[in-house]
Subunit: 214 residues, 2 copies
Amino acid sequence: MSLTRVHNFAISLDGFGTGEPQSLEEPFGHAGERLHEWMFATRWWNENVGEPGGTTGVDDAIARRHQPGIGAEIMGANKFGPPGWHEDPEWKGWWGENPPFHSPTFVMTHHTREPIEMQGGTTFHFRDASPAEVLEEARAAADGQDVRLGGGATVIRDFLAAGLVDHLHAVVVPILLGRGVRLWDGLEGLESDYEIESVASPSGVTHLTLTRTR
Amino acid sequence: MSLTRVHNFAISLDGFGTGEPQSLEEPFGHAGERLHEWMFATRWWNENVGEPGGTTGVDDAIARRHQPGIGAEIMGANKFGPPGWHEDPEWKGWWGENPPFHSPTFVMTHHTREPIEMQGGTTFHFRDASPAEVLEEARAAADGQDVRLGGGATVIRDFLAAGLVDHLHAVVVPILLGRGVRLWDGLEGLESDYEIESVASPSGVTHLTLTRTR
């Protein structure tokens, strides 16, 4: 059975998945890199960027769950580029010629364009459709494997509200952003559909895992 | 040195310290007792209410920090009674003739009244003043001991924003309330004044401890 999975999605103690304002220079706004330092410290991250070293404890073990078994990705428009990216016909995402998705990748946007085929197996498809519709297409493209929901916060929240997420891994970072985009808004009673596990890492972050039970 | 301490303050995964609407029948609104079940399961709680049994692990150990060394309490009007309590001249709080504070207890309210002396050492004082002013008075009343800030969320947030909290213990309960009163609103950058520790309990809650470092 093909699952819909969220991995390594970092939020602040006050629940923000990104700061503000988001821009080309600051993709996470005033949050800067603070939501992701726990990840940059892992060996998994270093391997991906060709660097030596890194931690090999619980942060690393959980972060590595990001890729195995994934056959397609879905992301929101704000993950694909800074505000206004759709006005630049040359914009191909933040990630260079070989993006780290290595699969069909569906960008949810009101500003659709022709698919962009990148190196390493990533092809960006642009869709102006509902979460359920985009998921159906991504699932078919994943060819029996799972679909990763890549964020940002708004897209994850929309999929949660629609009951479409099977596995959600969120990482609570002990900072208070005060402003930005919240992950949990409008999800009263969500816990009744999930088993929720919490594990505190010695690095200071807390890993939350929501596993769908019905 | 006399500290200002918060203990056993429970919040939902989405950051609400209480649900809504608060009433005589439902002091925590639609949250019911769900924010406090972790506490009711401890031996400490059972001892306080004269029942046998209860857990003796990390939840119990941390919960017990509530009372030792406390010489006064400060609480908000919404902790003292349901909306409109000030219109009832006979209202003396939720806790019966012998409230669990056993010390001078300062209620922050725009509707002040004469002090109420209860059994067991609790006297309620009603103050319409700033956090700093009420804290100064409570500290004097505590006679060298610490002051406990009892909540609710709005009062704790106001004291945090004013830089007046030395120790904050919050308990994150894995439910999503979706609405109510948030603890963390408007506290951007708070982490720079605190060491923040997170420990996940086998009961499913996560204990957050903020210790003031400057």
